[in-house]
């Protein structure tokens, strides 16, 4: 019963309660100040968004984990470390997305160049490989002051090895590099065993085109438009693969390691037009060539045509290295001297002699005639043969004049007979080194085709072309003028040209005719009336 509390107990309790209250008040004061202190400690800094409370917590946790010796001495450093570790985390919110750069992609492709198949090591030592010794060639070219850089040549070497292994080749040679605006071409000259397949492919394509035409003819018959009887002059046929300008096949790649692409054979029309235009290469094989006269083909054809011209103009060898093989005369009575063979007895001409006189060098590629081929073809004969076959075509009244055969310099003519163009000698020859001429090589540089080089040292020689693929045009290139417009047809006795009557003359004529008719009618009426009278 609360009422029966002892007053002393009450006071005691009251005192205790007061004490407790006091204590509680004291405690609460302490607690309050502790709470305010804690709140203060947890206030975030305006600069770094951290607060003392969290920082001290982490610091003490770090000390607990690591338990360093003499912790009080290194406590400031630990504090610094804790702060620094926070920064590192905050800055890595942006992650680098790894993008394959062009260099990395190429490196992946070029890695294949360096793969070695261990099986074929023994076989290669026994047989002669069509692969040229590019390291040796690179050494001499460096002495000559030409080259592509050692590492690049090494990559090209490995790429050529890849080409040789993928195709059946009799011979392979680095022809050179043609620079382009967007990218360049590395050209390899090969002699392949498979020659006939390419011709069959071209024949099939022509048949397909022929099939497409009659379909169009059927459509136009309904309209019955007049058909043109114009026949364009026959195109000069291209040379068979393996002869003349098409003697070798050419493979092209943009960077060593990328796949090699075969260039198509060259046609004489392409060579004649390539002689008249002057264009940079862009680096894309299927880019169109916009020029006047219009080039029949795209950049791959233009590239092939320029390669053919450069090879014909600048591939030279020391005299005596090659000998002409004498063949039997053909049916037409012309001796074709287009094959040559390596002379095994060639002893080498000393480089000083080769550098001094141009007659020690000879061309070993056939000259391309103005017709566009290396062997001249009489188009008139061919036209007659076709005329005999077609019975519809009337025979011409006059026989066409026999065109004169085009003759070029025969194979293996010395360079001293090369003509001077634009008042510059066609070749510049030097020794590769002045100070050590005992071991120097003779170097030839072409002035007609800037970028064509040849070197010879003893029994070794090589040709290379590194340049833009353009001939020296002298003072300036002037594009060919379009043809003169044709003259009018001169009148015959049967066909003459007469002026159309003017409007007044027509009216006068009509009036005259009308007057005549009236006269006739009048006369008839008179006759009738006369008859009637009778």
């Amino acid at each position: 019963m609360t009422d029966t509390k002892d007053p002393s107990q009450e006071t005691m309790e009251g005192e205790a309660a007061e004490e407790e209250e006091e204590e509680e008040e004291g405690k609460s004061e302490v607690m309050q100040s502790a709470a305010t202190l804690k709140a203060f400690l947890m206030k975030n800094s305006t600069k770094t968004n951290m607060n003392v409370y969290d920082h001290l917590t982490q610091l003490l946790m770090k000390v607990m984990d690591e338990q360093p010796n003499d912790a009080v001495d290194v406590i400031e450093d630990l504090s610094h470390d804790v702060k620094r570790s926070l920064y590192v985390d905050k800055q890595s919110t942006l992650q680098d997305v790894p993008q394959a750069t062009a260099a990395e992609q190429l490196a992946e492709q070029q890695r294949l160049l360096f793969s070695h198949t261990g099986d074929t090591v023994e076989e290669e030592e026994e047989e002669e490989t069509p692969l040229p010794n590019i390291s040796e060639i690179g050494f001499f070219l460096e002495h000559a002051g030409v080259g592509l850089g050692r590492e690049e040549l090494q990559r090209i070497y490995l790429a050529l090895k890849q080409l040789v292994e993928s195709q059946e080749l009799v011979r392979c040679r680095l022809w050179g590099k043609i620079l382009g605006v967007e990218s360049s071409y590395i050209v390899a000259e090969v002699e392949s065993k498979e020659l006939e397949e390419e011709e069959e492919e071209d024949g099939e394509r022509e048949e397909e085109e022929g099939v497409a035409e009659p379909e169009e003819g059927e459509v136009s018959q309904r309209d019955q438009l007049p058909q043109s009887t114009y026949k364009p002059p026959p195109a000069v046929p291209k040379e068979i693969v393996g002869t003349g300008a098409n003697k070798f096949l050419y493979y092209v790649c943009k960077e060593p390691g990328l796949p090699w692409v075969k260039l198509p054979s060259v046609t004489p029309a392409q060579i004649t037009v390539a002689r008249q235009i002057r264009k940079f290469f862009t680096g894309k094989m299927d880019a169109p060539i916009e020029s006047y006269p219009p080039f029949p083909g795209n950049e791959a054809n233009y590239l092939r045509a320029q390669i053919a011209r450069i090879a014909a103009g600048t591939h030279v060898s020391p005299q005596g290295f090659f000998l002409i093989m004498e063949e039997e005369d053909d049916e037409e009575g012309e001796a074709t001297q287009d094959s040559y063979d390596v002379n095994n007895d060639f002893e080498g001409i000393p480089p000083t002699e080769m550098a001094e006189s141009l007659s020690t060098w000879v061309h070993h590629v056939q000259h391309v005639l103005p017709q566009g081929r290396c062997t001249w073809l009489n188009l008139a004969l061919k036209a007659k043969e076709e005329a005999d076959e077609d019975e519809e075509v009337e025979e011409p009244d006059e026989e066409p004049d026999e065109p004169e055969p085009e003759v070029g310099p025969p194979l293996l003519t010395p360079l001293s007979q090369d003509a001077e163009v634009f008042n510059t000698p066609p070749w510049t020859s030097k020794l590769s080194s002045i100070l050590t001429s005992q071991h120097a090589a003779a170097v030839l540089r072409s002035n007609l085709w800037p970028g064509a080089f040849a070197y010879a040292c003893g029994k070794k020689f090589e040709n290379i072309y590194v340049g833009w693929g353009l001939k020296n045009a002298g003072d300036g290139y002037s594009p060919p003028v379009p043809p003169v417009p044709q003259k009018e047809y001169v009148g015959d006795e049967e066909i003459t040209e007469a002026k159309d009557p003017s409007a007044e003359e027509e009216r006068a004529l009509q009036e005259a005719l009308a007057a005549q008719e009236e006269d006739l009618e009048d006369s008839e009426d008179e006759e009738e009336s006369d008859e009637a009278d009778y």
């Binding site: 002051g145 030409v146 080259g147 850089g149 690049e152 990559r155 002057r278 008042n423 594009p479």
Partner: protein, 325 residues
Amino acid sequence: MFNTSLVSRITHTLTRFVDISNHRRSVQTRLCWLLYIHVLQFEEIRVTRVKKMDSQTLYFSLELVAGSGHILNIEQRTALQTSLMILRKNYKFGRVLFWGKILGLKEDYFIAQGRGEDELKDKKNLYSFNCMDWFLLPPATNCLINEVSKAARGRFIGDPSHVYERVLRIHLEEDEEHEEVVKVSEENRLAVTIHWIDEEASVVPRGAFIKNPHGIVQMNRSFCGLSDSEARKLDSFLHFREPRNQKESILGMCELNQTIDFLDVLSDDIPKGSWSLQFECARKVCVLRSLLWLGLTFYHVPVTPHSGYIYIGNGYRNLDLNFML
């Protein structure tokens, strides 16, 4: 050789200090000289680190431009190393660059260029036949340029004393014909050709050269190269010549920095497309080739300060460029 401007400034201040001290503070002057020497050594270290197509970096820079087909053989390279050092000492150049080769019918000219304090204006050209004995070329004045453009025709012969002659017929008003004979020696033609090539086809990456407040153009020692994406744009390359085009639009000006962008941009060249930008050497080196002066090759390795240009060619301007593009 050290950066002459810095040396001159230091010596100037130190001599003033020495005069003031009047030999009383000999210890301090000694300390000053020690500081001087340390600064010069430090300068040398910095100077040799950042070089372009210089005799210092000739080792590897020739490999990087070899994609155009012409290189120097080992004999010429070693001769150049030696002779360019001697040349720098004799002529007191700030740095000596191998400029290139002009191919002649009989002989080739090797060209070197020495640069003084102002890289744009203090230039001197020298030629040689064997990379050892160098001869100074005259500076290209306007009068010389006129003569050469009238008289010189055909290829370089290779003989500096060869004289090109041309007879010009000038028609005056009263049907009088006045014949003027213009003669130019090949040496002068060489000097003018080098001047033309530098004016029309020299290239530097943006940021490689700075113009200090005195108007002196110097190499930027803290140039750390263009990034990969910047090196693919023609805008990041500038002509190293007195600027001709004045940018008028304010919009363009706000992004530009006056110390760096005081030169003309390559993409403003007429005709457009007269530069070929490619990545060579396994797509790591940015190579620019001029189509107007066939034979000029510029290289820059991105993200490094290495860059430079070289001209190896006939010394002909490609006037058919408009047909060929």
